[in-house]
């Protein structure tokens, strides 16, 4: 019997959705191993969080009240002690930005093999984990030839658990060594305000690394003008300083839900998709038929943007800039 421990996530007083997805991912594994599903709630208002996490499928919830906001030193120490105490076989942590900041440390502290960014897992005596490589162009199966392991779980892959649970909620007294806390969160800042709010737009023309150079951007701007759309982009375009941060769609940018999203020269990396998968109609223009953007596009043009975009501008009666 192998028990499963999931870790929930909260920020600035609120549980994040991924916490409820962790319940589904953890329950699925616990059903296959025949073990119990434990959930850890660490720092902040743990009692309120515990009540909210008490959804269908959770057997036990352990609250650890040290700390307010997320701190990886507290999380690492607390989880090392809790996993040892419960003797759990599998520790599941969100593959979120904060997950990236403590999952490898927890795996190391517990001497567990670590498989990150799982999109599926199955257990049949041995644990098998599915994860992507090469920007989502291939999937791989990783077999875990060990009785114990740590996994990080890709957000938005599993459904959120709902329904009232009947978990035992208990306090776990972790012995936190204060001298080992060598990082301090001093505040939060909102990045990217500014002139436009791309999340309000009905039609987004979104440009990615396929544009190659800043000098080519006027081509896309001409299309935006001819269609009266709004311009957005993937991350590299913002990283390069070609567009301001408020134009970025994705995990670390904005979540958008327009009627039409036209992705031009964008591969469809998971962190980009996190920001636009809710668009009503998705159109991709990409020379690479294997690009993951085609997994969710309703319509596609497998052709060179430098040929298609000028044709589109003319179609809408705009003028193609000299380049």
């Amino acid at each position: 019997m192998s028990d499963v421990l999931i870790v929930t996530e909260h920020r600035r007083g609120e549980l994040r959705d991924v916490s409820f997805e962790m319940i589904s991912a953890g329950r699925e594994l616990a059903d296959e191993t025949g073990g119990k599903l434990h959930a850890a709630v660490i720092s902040g208002d743990v009692d309120t969080f515990a009540d909210q996490v008490n959804r269908d499928g959770v057997d036990a919830i352990h609250t650890i009240s040290d700390g307010e906001e997320f701190n990886h030193d507290i999380y690492t120490q607390a989880l090392e002690q809790l996993a040892n105490e419960l003797d759990t076989s599998y520790v599941l942590i969100p593959h979120s930005v904060n997950g990236l900041d403590y999952a490898p440390a927890v795996a190391e502290a517990l001497s567990l093999p670590l498989v990150t960014d799982a999109v599926a897992h199955s257990f049949d005596g041995t644990l098998e984990v599915t994860r992507e490589q090469y920007g989502g162009k291939v999937e791989t199966t990783i077999e875990v030839e060990a009785d114990r392991a740590a996994l990080t779980i890709r957000p938005a892959e599993w459904p959120q658990a709902d329904g009232m649970g009947e978990a035992d909620i208990s306090t776990f007294d972790a012995a936190i060594d204060e001298s080992a806390i060598r990082s301090t969160v001093t505040g939060f800042e909102e990045a990217a305000g500014g002139d436009v709010d791309i999340s309000e737009a009905d039609v987004l023309v979104s440009i990615g690394r396929g544009i190659e150079e800043e000098e080519n951007l006027p081509l896309i701007e001409a299309l935006v003008e001819a269609t009266d759309a709004t311009l957005s982009s993937s991350r590299p375009v913002v990283d390069n300083g070609w567009l301001p941060a408020n134009r970025q769609v994705g995990q670390s940018g904005k979540v958008v839900t327009p009627d039409v999203y036209i992705a031009i020269g964008i591969s469809g990396a998971v962190q980009h998709v996190a920001g636009m998968k809710g668009a009503d109609t998705i159109i991709a223009i990409n020379t690479d038929a294997n690009a993951p953007i085609y997994d969710l596009a309703d319509y596609g043009i497998e052709d060179d943007l430098f040929d298609v975009v000028p044709a589109l501008i003319e179609e809408f009666g705009g003028s193609v800039p000299d380049m």
Binding site: P104, Y134, A146
Partner: protein
Amino acid sequence: MKVLVTVAEVAEVEDKFEVSDDEIAEQYLTYDLNEWDDYAVEEAVQLSEEEEDVEVITATIGPERSEETIRMTLAKGADRAVRVWDEAIESADYLDINSKADLLAAVVEEENPDLVLSGVQSGDKANGATGVSLAQKIGFEWGAVVNKLELDVDGGVATVHRELEGGVEEVTDIETPAVLTIQSGINEPRYASLRGIRQAQRKPLDVQTLEDISLDADVVESPLAQTSMYKPESESDTTMWTGSPEDEAAQLADLLRNKGVVDA
């Protein structure tokens, strides 16, 4: 001060490729400096330009082929490079996060840096884990997904912004020595100048075997095994518009007009 940057050479897959025997054949792969490590190298080189006496060392686990990529980081301003490789690593079935962090930990032990910068993730494997795993092994403090860094060398504190989801940044003080995993966009990586490229040829690039860094071959053994690789099945049925670019454009335009989202 010594800054060590972990630098991965990553593989990119051509548009058209085949998976056979659970592998992508070499002919479909091209190799390049990992995007996130490019930003990490730039951050280190900028530190060396701002502060007195900063030495920037890159550390790579990689075959001889990766020396071209490593030279590129030297051309961009790193002072010297360490490349770890030998037959045992070459023949490892699956070089997992733990093994890589063990190898890098041994290099850190030799070099004794004040600061280690790594990338948030490698573009090909995308584990997103090596830096923090390394930190825990060597007993350094750490911070993941850093998109702003101010270093107080004398005070022994790195004030960083960690880029969280949804445009929120966490401001954190981290005691040094530390490992920071660097997020893209933190700076503007420079291109290597011709002069830099010439100078890079003369900079030290030491190749170290497991024995050189006092490790046994079992460090590359792993309880993990990659048992299959395949192209994922598409979950959607995309309607592909075909024809000349004009034909394709016309079909897209029709859709937008029919939806009533454009007037033109």
